[in-house]
């Protein structure tokens, strides 16, 4: 087994506040890796550093052999990402959103067409390819984002809370696609979620992060045994405590609220 992501001593400080503190972990090729933690634990900051959006204060990252701080474009070609907030263009059709992505990643025209068809069929959106995305349900949008993230044949797919706000049926559906992908395309999946049941069911490796530090890493079984609990949820609570995290609402949270108001 090969390491597709290697993280050594990764640290990120914002004006004296340490968001990520000397974090170490490896992800093997073909893994479904769950990155869990309470709000504000450092998950998103870590993902941002892995995906070239943020430069670390210290430490080293290798993704598919590339250094995200130096080989930005090579790193970017190596992964696909589904953000927590939808990043589709509502005023474009599903096909146009895909096409746009293909052009940005310079996927050659013929291959692009073929791959878009294949992926839209896989996510069962082919019939709706010419509909504007604003007419899509939350689950359809997520599926489209997953399809889009895969268009350029990435080695790793990042999913930041991919099932947030979806009903159980849709959530199951999404996970079955992801599992399928992992098997068919041999793609490594790196995801975050707050639904412990989902992580328990789907992930073969789990890391729990809190206050910027990795508390534990292993399989579900290993984590449960280690904490002497019955489920991942209990293990998680035992490791991270019962306290509810107080987070100051950022500008982004405020905009998220407003967006719900305007767009729904």
């Amino acid at each position: 087994m090969e390491k597709i992501i290697e993280v050594k001593n990764l640290t990120k400080k914002f004006n004296g506040f340490t968001a990520v503190d000397r974090v170490n972990f490896d992800v093997m090729t073909g893994d479904i890796f769950a990155f869990l933690g309470p709000n504000g634990a450092g998950k998103t900051t870590t993902i941002k550093m892995l995906t070239t959006l943020l430069n670390p204060t210290q430490g080293e990252i290798r993704l598919n052999g590339f250094d995200p701080t130096k080989d930005k474009d090579d790193t970017r070609r190596s992964f696909g990402i589904v953000f927590q907030d939808p990043s589709l263009d509502d005023e474009l059709t599903a096909y146009e959103n895909m096409e746009f992505h293909g052009v940005l990643y310079s996927v050659p025209k013929d291959l692009r067409r073929q791959r878009i068809e294949e992926l839209l069929k896989f996510t069962e959106l082919w019939e709706r390819k010419n509909s504007l995305v604003k007419t899509f349900s939350g689950g359809m949008k997520r599926r489209l984002e997953i399809a889009r993230g895969l268009l350029h044949h990435p080695k790793v797919l990042f999913l930041d809370e991919p099932t947030l706000g979806l009903d159980p049926q849709t959530r199951n559906h999404i996970w079955s696609y992801i599992k399928d992908l992992n098997q068919k395309e041999k793609i490594t999946v790196f995801f975050t979620t707050h639904y412990m049941g989902e992580a328990e069911k789907i992930a073969n490796q789990i890391a729990i992060i809190d206050h910027g530090k990795i508390l534990v890493q292993g399989t579900v079984r290993e984590l449960i045994n280690k904490t002497k609990t019955k489920s991942l949820e209990e293990a998680f609570i035992q490791l991270t405590g019962h306290t509810i995290r107080t987070e100051t609402a950022s500008a982004l949270d405020q905009m998220r609220e407003k967006r719900k108001f305007f767009r729904r």
Partner: protein
């Protein structure tokens, strides 16, 4: 190149699809043309200024381009937190190309809005000289690029939409009112005269008016040069600030 093209295409497609936005944003210039044009027309005529609608229309076209361009630039805030911009920022393309593509798209939309207002004004009674129409177009293009770049620069520095009103009232409106779009600029108090001189839109309005009314004069070359320099400076600032955006 392909990046710039697809970003441009996206914005133009969005523009043509949102019919309500096109019509909605034409309301204000139309209101200005009708209310001010016909309202102040007789007084202006009596004061010996000639036909006010002829004077006013180039100013209103400049206003339309200014507002649309600023707005498409500032929209970047929205886009960057939720949308599409995030998707483009993790793509293997340079930020400079993304910024140029967006600016080109925003400017194109602003120019189209300006042209629609020109057509409407002709229906109301504006009589442009068609000979220098290409030159008027050049000035519209310069105004459009100038303010799309300014909007993008501001948006790169702003965290949310709260500052939007501030920018409208303390930047965009003064730029519009102190540009000679609505009234002739002679006999202004000194301090205001100074503000008018450093306002780049002043040169845009003058250029646009001179070309549309065919009162072409030597100052036109000066207008063009000043605008072009302003565009280049703002594009550089915009590109720099855009490259520093963190999401």
């Amino acid at each position: 190149m392909q990046t710039i093209y697809i970003l441009w295409l996206r914005q133009v497609k969005r523009y043509f699809r949102s019919k309500s936005r096109i019509i909605g944003s034409l309301g204000q210039p139309l209101l200005f043309l009708v209310a001010l044009g016909f309202g102040f027309g007789p007084i202006y005529q009596k004061a010996g200024g000639g036909n006010y609608l002829q004077f006013l229309t180039p100013g209103i076209i400049a206003m339309t381009v200014l507002f649309t361009a600023m707005f498409s630039g500032i929209e970047t805030i929205w886009d960057r937190q939720f949308g599409f911009l995030k998707e483009t920022l993790v793509a293997p393309v340079s930020r400079l190309n993304i910024m140029f593509g967006k600016t080109l798209g925003g400017a194109t939309v602003a120019i189209l809005q300006g042209l629609i207002v020109l057509v409407i004004s002709i229906l109301i009674g504006f009589r442009p000289h068609l000979l220098f129409l290409p030159m008027a177009l050049v000035f519209m293009i310069l105004i459009a690029f100038l303010f799309t770049a300014l909007g993008t620069a501001i948006a790169s520095k702003m965290e949310d939409m709260h500052g939007f009103q501030l920018i409208m009232n303390f930047l965009v409106m003064p730029i519009f009112f102190l540009s000679g779009a609505l009234f002739p600029l002679n006999g202004m108090p000194k301090a205001i005269g100074w503000l008018i001189k450093i306002n780049p839109l002043t040169y845009g309005v003058d250029g646009l008016r001179s070309s549309l009314l065919s009162s072409v004069h030597l100052g036109l070359l000066g207008d063009f040069t000043i605008l072009l320099i302003a565009v280049l400076i703002l594009l550089s600032i915009g590109a720099y600030l855009f490259s520093k955006i963190q999401i």
